[in-house]
Symmetry: C2
Subunit: 141 residues, 2 copies
DNA sequence: GTATCTGCAAAACATTTGCAATTCT
DNA sequence: AGAATTGCAAATGTTTTGCAGATAC
C-alpha cells in the first residue's frame, strides 16, 4: 500500500477525514496488516494498545472510510464484512479452510461481460472461494 | 430455468433431497420468481398460501439446497443473503436504488486472472453495483 | 414404529442507534 | 464555548439452536 508519499494523517485529511487518534490508528492497522480484517479483528488488535477503544468507534470509522472511498467492503460470507484499504480494482480469493483472504490481481478490461449496457456500473466485485496452497499441503501430510 | 424436463419433485429427489411439501413450494418459488429473493421474501410470499410455514423452515431448506448445490448464495450486502436457483456460472448486477438484482451473463473462460495458480478454486463470484436503467429514467423525469 | 421434518421460542451474533461524556480547536 | 468525536448501553435485524410435536415411509 502506497499513500503517494503522504503520512496517514495527511492522507486522511486529503480525503476529507479529520485525523483523530483512533482513525489514524485504525487506518494504520489496515495498511500494515493486509489481512482484510473484519471489525472485531481490528478492535482486538488495537484494544491492547488503546484500552478505551470501543467497537462502535471501529464501526463508525469503517463507515466513514467507506463513504470517503479510502476503503472497500468485502462481502464474501454472509456472517462477516471485511475491509480492504486497497481500493484499486482487484479481486479476492478466500480459503474456506483457514479463512484467509488473498488479493488477486485482475484486469477488468479483459472481462467480456454481456448485458451491462443498460446499467450504470459503479462498483465491480470479483472473488473466488476454495482452498489455498498451504491448506492443500497440510491435508497431504 | 430448466430442470431438464423434470418436475420439481423429481428434481429434488434427483439431487438427494426428500421432496416435502414445503421444500417443493420453496423451490417452485425460486424458479418461478427469478428475483433473487432473501429468506424473508420467500417466507412472506409463501405464508399467504401456507400459514403454518415458519421462517426456520425456510432457513433450514435454503441451507439444505445450498449443501446439495441446487441453489447458490448471493452475498452483495452485508445485511442480507439472497438466493438463486440458477447455479450455472453467471454474474449479478444489483441496483442500489431499487434493490433489484439482475442476472449478468459472463464467460468465465474469458477472464484472465493472474495469481490463482496456487489456489484450488471451487467457486467464482462476480457482481456489480450501480443504478439500473429504470431508476436512471425515473430520476430524469 | 422409527427416522426425518417442521416450527415455535429463545439464543446468538453482527451491526446500528441514542445519548451523555470527552476531546479538539 | 462550540462542534465533532468517542464510547457505553440498549435496540435491531438476521440467522442459528434446542426441542417438542407432527409427518412420512
Amino acid at each position: 500500500m502506497d499513500l503517494g508519499g503522504l503520512t496517514v494523517e495527511e492522507y486522511l485529511k486529503e480525503n476529507g477525514i479529520k485525523p483523530s487518534y483512533q482513525r489514524i490508528r485504525i487506518f494504520e492497522y489496515l495498511i500494515k496488516n493486509q489481512n482484510h480484517p473484519n471489525v472485531d479483528t481490528i478492535y482486538r488488535a488495537l484494544y491492547k494498545d488503546i484500552p478505551t477503544l470501543s467497537r462502535t468507534t471501529v464501526y463508525n470509522t469503517m463507515k466513514l472510510f467507506r463513504e470517503k472511498n479510502i476503503t472497500q467492503m468485502i462481502n464474501i460470507e454472509d456472517t462477516e464484512t471485511r475491509y480492504d484499504a486497497d481500493v484499486s480494482p482487484h479481486g479476492h480469493f478466500k480459503c474456506t479452510q483457514c479463512g484467509n483472504i488473498f488479493d488477486v490481481r485482475m484486469d477488468v478490461s479483459d472481462m467480456e461481460v454481456e448485458g451491462l449496457d443498460s446499467f450504470r456500473v459503479e462498483e465491480t466485485h470479483l472473488y473466488f472461494k476454495g482452498t489455498c496452497d498451504d491448506c492443500i499441503e497440510e491435508k497431504k501430510s
